[in-house]
Amino acid sequence: MNPVSYARAASVADALHMAGGQGARLLGGGTNLVDLMRKGVDTPSQLVDVTALPDGIDRAEDGGLIIGAAAGNSAVAAHPLVRSGYPMLARAILAGASAQVRNMATVGGNVMQRTRCLYFNDVAGARCNKRVPGSGCDAIGGFNRYHAILGGSDACIATHPSDMCVALAALDAQVYIAGPAGERTVPLVAFHRLPGERPDIETVLDPTEIVVAVTLPPSPFAARSAYRKVRDRASYAFALVSVAVGLTMREDRVDAISVAFGGIAPKPWRAAWIEDALRGASLSPSAIEKAFEAEFADATLLPGNGFKRGLAKRTLCAMLTELGGTAP
C-alpha cells in the first residue's frame, strides 16, 4: 500500500492534464485497479477519477454507435441500440463478471483491464515479466490453464480477460483516443499489443493519452451473431475459451463473416485466417475445420492449456453450424 492522491476530472482536457504525470492512473469503476493496488501489483501515486467524463451511448453519424469510455458495462448491455444492433456485444458483457461488478465497471476500464494470471497477481511469491520486466515467468512452467495458446512469447503467456473486448474485436470497433497532440482512433484489434519481449507494455496507448470512447460501425451481423463463453463454473469465472461470431449468408455461402476468440491469447483475437478461408465458402464441417487449422497452426500448447485448441475448434464449429443454419 502506498500513499495516493485522488482527483476527479471534470472534462477530457482536465483528465489529460492530470493524467500526464508519472504514477498517475485513470480510475473508472475500480473493479480491477483497486484490486491490483490492494495486492501491491500496481502502486500508483495519483488516481484520476474519470467517471464524470462522457458516458453516452449514441447513434453515430455513419449509423453506427459511439459509446463514451465512462459508460457502465451494465448500461451498455441494456441499451436498446446495443440490444437491437449489436446483440453479440450485450451477450458478451452479460457473460462477464457479476452483476455488481458490471454495474461498477466502465467501458474504458474494461478495455484497459489487466490479466488475471495467478503469477502476475502474486507479488510476494512469484516471478512475472509483466509486473517486473526481466524477472522471469512462472506461469509457463506452472498453472497455465487460463493462459494463451496463440500470440504468447517466451516472456509471457497471460491472456486478456475481457469478454466485452472479444465482441468489440468482432464488431470492428475503433478506440477513440485523446492526447496532448490531439485525437486519434485505433482499431480495437490493434489497440492491445502482443507481449514479445515487453509484456509490461500492453497497449499502443501512450502514457499521456486516454481512451475517451469506443465506436462501432453499422453491423451487418445483428441477425446472425453469437457469443459463447466456455467455463467450468456457470458464473463469475473467466473464459477458458470464448468465441464471438457474426455471419451473413448469400444463399448457402458465407457472405460476410467475423470471428474473434477470447481466453486463448494476450489480446482479443480476431481470426483473420478463418474469415478469409470461409468467406464465399459453404459452412461444411471440413471447411470450418480447415479454416480453423490455418488460424491455429502456430498454437503453442502447454500441459495446462493444450485442451483449448480442440475446445476452440469444437466451439467454433458448433456455433458456425448453428448460425449458418438459422434463417437470417
Partner: protein, 772 residues
C-alpha cells in the same frame, strides 16, 4: 471427529465387550423418542431475527474501547531461515504501536495437537509460533504489526523487509510417496485392517475393478473470516473468537500462557461458518501474546488470502479401490488403500478408508492408509474429513463394477449393503440405508435412468443419472456439561459452552429442553458460546447435538430429584420416587397417575426459592462401543454434459438420509443442502492450486478458487427415513457432515452415465471430458 470416538473406544471397548446391550445406559431407548412436542417441529432459528436485523455481534464486530489492530506477514518461501529482518520502516510508520517477530515475541511452548488422549487439545499444528528464525511452510506467520487502525497495520506490514535463505523443501506429493509413513492407527482405529486374504480373493473373482482415484487439496472458505479480539484485564484474559471449540480453547490458552483456567474467558456466541476450519491456529496465539505486550485490546482479522495461507484445508489423496464380485454379484473382496498428506506437526489423518469399512459386506477386506510428509500448512478437518473423498473413490468403484457386470448400480448396492458392521461384526443400532435408497430412487425417478452410457441427448447435451451411498459415524463426546436453572416463573435457562456455527444448535437444544422439562418452547432460554459456562466439547464430527443432549438428559434427571425433594410432603407428588415421575405440563407428574401433578412454580414458591439450579455431565457414550452407529445417505444426481465443450451442468440433486430422528426439519434441511452444495464444489470445481515448484498456493482468493455459484446449484431435494435410533439421545444421529458424503461419486457416476467417460481425478473439469 471419529478421533474422539476412537479415543474412548480404545480404552473401554475390550472392557465392556461382554456387557449385554440392555445394561448399557443407552440400552433403554430415550422416552422422548415416543413422547415429543417441540422436537421434530419445523421451528425457525431462535437467532434468525437478530441475524437478519444485524444485531447479532460476530467476533469482528464486538465494540471494544481502546482497540488496536493487527496484521500478519506470511513467509513467501517454503523452507528456510530468516537471515535479515528490517522492521525499522514499519515501526516508524504512522500509527504503528509494535512490530512483533521471533526476536521479541514472548517465549511460549507449543499447543497439544487435537485428539488422542487430551480432550482439551486444540492444536492444528505443534510448531513453535514466532519463536525462532525457521520457516517450515509457505504462508507461515513470520511477523505481526499492531497499529491504531487496520489500514495502518496493513500498510506497515508491507514495509517489513525480510531476507531468507531457502532450504530444499518437500513439496511434491508424487516424490514424497516414496518415504510415506504407515501409521499404526488412524484416529486410533487400527490402520492396516485385513479380513481374509483380499488380494487373493480379488484375483479369483468373477468380476474385478481395480483403479486409482485422486482428489486435490481444498481450502476452507467460511463466509466469516477468522478473527479474534484479545484483551488482558489484570491477570485475566478475555478473548472474543470465532471458534468451534470454546471451552477447549480457554483451557489451551490457559496452559500456553501459564494461567489458571478460570482466568481465561473465551466468548464466541456466533460463528459464521466452521466446517472444521475454525479451530485454534497461530493467529489466536499471536493476538493474545501481543495484547499483553501492547497493554491494549488487539483485534486480528485474517484476510481471505491469509485464511488460505495459514489455515489448513483438506489434504490431497491418491486412493486405490479394488472390488471383486462373484458371478451373482456378491462382493468377494474390498480393498481401499492410499496416500494422503499429514505433516508430522499436523493433527488430521484424513480417515478416507473408515467410511468404506462400514458400508458393504464382503468375503474379504483390506484397508491401509499411508501418510505423505510435505512442508505445508498442516491440513485439517474439513466437512466429513475422510468420508467426503473416501466415498468418492469407493462409490465410483461400485459404479464401475456395476457397469462391468452390466447390472443396475442401485441393485448392486442393495445386494451388498451390510446388515451388521462388516468388519467388526457389531450390530448396527439402527440402519435403514436400503430404505433410504428405495425411497430416494422412487422420488428421484431412478427408473428413468438409461443403462447405456451416452444414450440420452437433448440437443448438444448428454444427460446422465448417478447415485452413491454415504456413511458417517455417530459420535457423542464425553465431557459435555450443562446447567439448568428453573426460575420462579416456571421458565428455564439452559447453559453450556457449546458452539453455534449457524446450524441451529441453540434452537434444537431449546426444543429438546422444552420437551425434556415439560415446558413450552417459549419458556426456554439457551445460553452458549461462553467458556465460563459449563464446559461442553468442541463442535466436530457431527457430534455436538447428541453430546449436549446427553448432558441435558443427565441434568434433567438431577433436576427431577432435586425438585421432588423440594416439593416436600404437601405436594401431590409426595412419596413418589424419581423413577415414578416425569416432567410434564410445567411441573412434576406421576407416570402412573398424571392427575398427580405439582407445578415448578408452586414448588419453588412453597420453598420460598427464586430458582433451582443443577449442573450435570452427560453419561459416558457407551452406546458407541456396543453398537455400530452410522448416519447414512443415498445421493442421486441428474446432470448434462455438453458434447461441444465438456461443460457439466447439474440439473437435479436428491439426498435421502437415514440419520435417526430429525429434530428440526427446517434447520436439518439447511444442513443437508449446504453439505450437498459443498459436495458439488468438491465434484466439479474446487481445487487448491498448490505449485509444487515453490510450495505455494497460487489461487488464494474466491475469484480464483471456484466454489459453486448460485447458477451452479440446482433444485436440491432432501428427504429422510426419520426412523429413531433406539441407542442415542432423542433417537438422533449427526447430520452435519453426511450431506457432503457421497455427492462427489454421485456426480462422477452421473457424468459417466451421460458420456461414457470415467473421471477418477477430481474436480471433473471440462477438459477431462473433451475427446483426446
Amino acid at each position: 471427529m471419529t478421533k474422539i470416538q476412537n479415543a474412548v473406544i480404545g480404552s473401554v471397548r475390550t472392557v465392556i465387550g461382554w456387557v449385554p446391550a440392555g445394561w448399557l445406559p443407552g440400552g433403554s431407548p430415550d422416552p422422548l423418542i415416543e413422547r415429543r412436542a417441540a422436537i421434530g417441529r419445523q421451528a425457525s432459528r431462535l437467532d434468525g431475527p437478530s441475524k437478519v436485523a444485524g444485531e447479532a455481534r460476530f467476533a469482528a464486530e464486538v465494540a471494544v474501547d481502546n482497540l488496536s489492530y493487527a496484521a500478519l506477514v506470511h513467509s513467501p518461501i517454503t523452507r528456510g531461515r530468516i537471515m535479515r529482518l528490517d522492521t525499522g520502516a514499519a515501526e516508524a510508520a504512522p500509527g504503528v504501536i509494535l512490530v512483533v517477530t521471533h526476536r521479541n515475541m514472548p517465549r511460549l511452548g507449543t499447543l497439544a495437537l487435537i485428539g488422542m488422549s487430551d480432550m482439551s487439545a486444540v492444536g492444528n499444528s505443534d510448531l513453535p509460533i514466532l519463536q525462532d528464525a525457521q520457516v517450515h511452510y509457505n504462508g507461515q506467520v513470520v511477523a505481526a504489526v499492531i497499529a491504531e487502525t487496520q489500514e495502518q497495520a496493513d500498510h506497515a506490514v508491507s514495509l517489513i523487509m525480510i531476507d531468507y535463505t531457502a532450504e530444499p523443501a518437500k513439496t511434491l506429493f508424487e516424490e514424497a510417496k516414496a518415504t510415506a509413513r504407515t501409521p499404526a492407527s488412524v484416529l486410533i482405529e487400527k490402520n492396516h485392517v485385513t479380513v481374509g486374504n483380499a488380494e487373493r480373493e480379488l484375483s479369483r473373482s468373477a468380476h474385478i475393478v481395480d483403479n486409482v482415484y485422486r482428489t486435490p487439496p481444498h481450502n476452507h472458505n467460511a463466509i466469516e473470516l477468522h478473527t479474534v479480539t484479545a484483551m488482558w484485564e489484570g491477570d485475566g484474559l478475555l478473548v472474543h473468537d470465532t471458534t468451534q471449540m470454546v471451552a477447549p480453547s480457554a483451557t489451551a490458552l490457559a496452559k500456553l500462557f501459564g494461567l489458571k483456567r478460570e482466568q481465561v474467558r473465551v466468548l464466541s456466541p456466533f460463528v459464521g461458518g466452521g466446517f472444521g476450519g475454525k479451530g485454534m491456529w497461530d493467529h489466536q496465539i499471536v493476538a493474545v501474546a501481543v495484547a499483553r505486550m501492547v497493554g491494549r485490546p488487539v483485534r486480528l482479522t485474517l484476510s481471505r488470502e491469509g485464511v488460505y495461507r495459514m489455515i489448513g484445508g483438506r489434504t490431497p489423496s491418491e486412493q486405490r479401490v479394488a472390488i471383486g464380485a462373484d458371478a451373482a454379484g456378491r462382493f468377494t473382496a474390498l480393498i481401499h488403500s492410499g496416500y494422503s498428506v499429514m505433516p508430522p506437526y499436523g493433527a488430521c489423518p484424513e480417515q478416507y478408508t473408515l467410511g468404506s469399512r462400514a458400508l458393504y459386506d464382503a468375503k474379504s477386506f483390506e484397508f491401509l492408509q499411508r501418510h505423505v510428509d510435505l512442508d505445508i500448512v498442516p491440513n485439517t478437518f474439513m466437512r466429513a474429513p475422510g468420508e467426503a473423498i473416501g466415498t468418492f473413490a469407493v462409490e465410483s468403484a461400485v459404479d464401475e463394477l456395476a457397469h462391468a457386470m452390466g447390472v443396475n448400480p442401485l441393485d448392486l448396492r442393495m445386494a451388498n449393503i451390510a446388515e451388521r458392521h462388516p468388519v467388526s461384526g457389531t450390530p448396527f443400532s439402527q440402519h435403514a440405508l436400503k430404505q433410504a435408497f428405495t425411497d430416494g430412487a422412487e422420488r428421484f425417478g431412478w427408473n428413468r435412468r438409461s443403462a447405456e452410457p451416452g444414450s440420452r441427448r437433448e440437443g448438444e447435451w448428454r444427460i446422465g443419472m448417478g447415485c452413491a451411498a454415504g456413511s458417517f459415524p455417530y459420535a457423542r463426546m464425553p465431557g459435555a456439561n450443562v446447567r439448568i436453572t428453573l426460575h420462579g416463573d416456571g421458565s428455564a435457562t439452559i447453559a453450556c459452552s457449546a458452539q453455534e456455527m449457524g446450524m441451529g444448535t441453540a434452537t434444537v437444544q431449546a426444543q429438546h429442553a422444552a420437551d425434556r422439562l415439560g415446558l413450552p418452547l417459549e419458556a426456554i432460554r439457551f445460553e452458549l458460546g461462553d467458556s465460563d459456562l459449563p464446559a461442553s466439547p468442541m463442535a466436530g464430527g457431527s457430534s455436538q447435538t447428541a453430546s449436549v443432549a446427553g448432558a441435558i438428559i443427565a441434568a434433567a434427571e438431577k433436576l427431577t430429584g432435586e425438585m421432588l425433594r423440594l416439593a416436600g410432603n404437601a405436594s401431590p407428588v409426595a412419596g413418589l420416587r424419581a423413577g415414578e415421575v416425569r416432567l410434564a405440563d410445567g411441573g412434576i407428574a406421576s407416570i402412573a397417575d398424571p392427575s398427580r401433578h405439582d407445578s415448578f412454580e408452586s414448588i419453588l414458591a412453597r420453598a420460598a426459592r427464586d430458582d433451582m439450579t443443577v449442573t450435570a455431565a452427560g453419561s459416558m457414550p457407551l452406546e458407541m462401543f456396543k453398537f455400530a452407529m452410522h448416519s447414512t445417505s443415498a445421493v442421486f444426481c441428474e446432470l448434462r454434459v455438453s458434447d461441444v465443450t465438456g461443460e457439466v451442468r447439474v440439473d437435479r440433486l436428491l439426498g435421502s438420509f437415514d440419520c435417526g430422528t430429525i429434530l428440526n426439519p427446517k434447520t436439518a434441511a439447511s444442513q443437508f443442502r449446504g453439505g450437498m452444495i459443498m459436495g458439488l464444489g468438491l465434484a466439479l470445481t474446487e481445487e487448491t492450486l498448490f505449485d509444487g515448484r515453490s510450495g505455494r498456493i497460487m489461487n488464494a482468493s474466491l475469484a480464483d478458487y471456484h466454489i459453486p455459484t448460485h447458477l451452479d446449484v440446482p433444485q436440491i431435494d432432501v428427504m429422510w427415513t426419520d426412523i429413531p435410533d433406539p441407542r442415542s439421545p432423542l433417537g438422533a444421529r449427526g447430520i452435519g457432515e453426511i450431506g457432503i458424503t457421497g455427492v462427489g461419486a454421485a456426480v462422477a457416476n452421473a457424468v459417466f452415465n451421460a458420456t461414457g467417460k470415467r473421471v477418477r481425478d477430481l474436480p471433473i473439469t471440462l477438459d477431462k471430458l473433451l475427446p483426446d
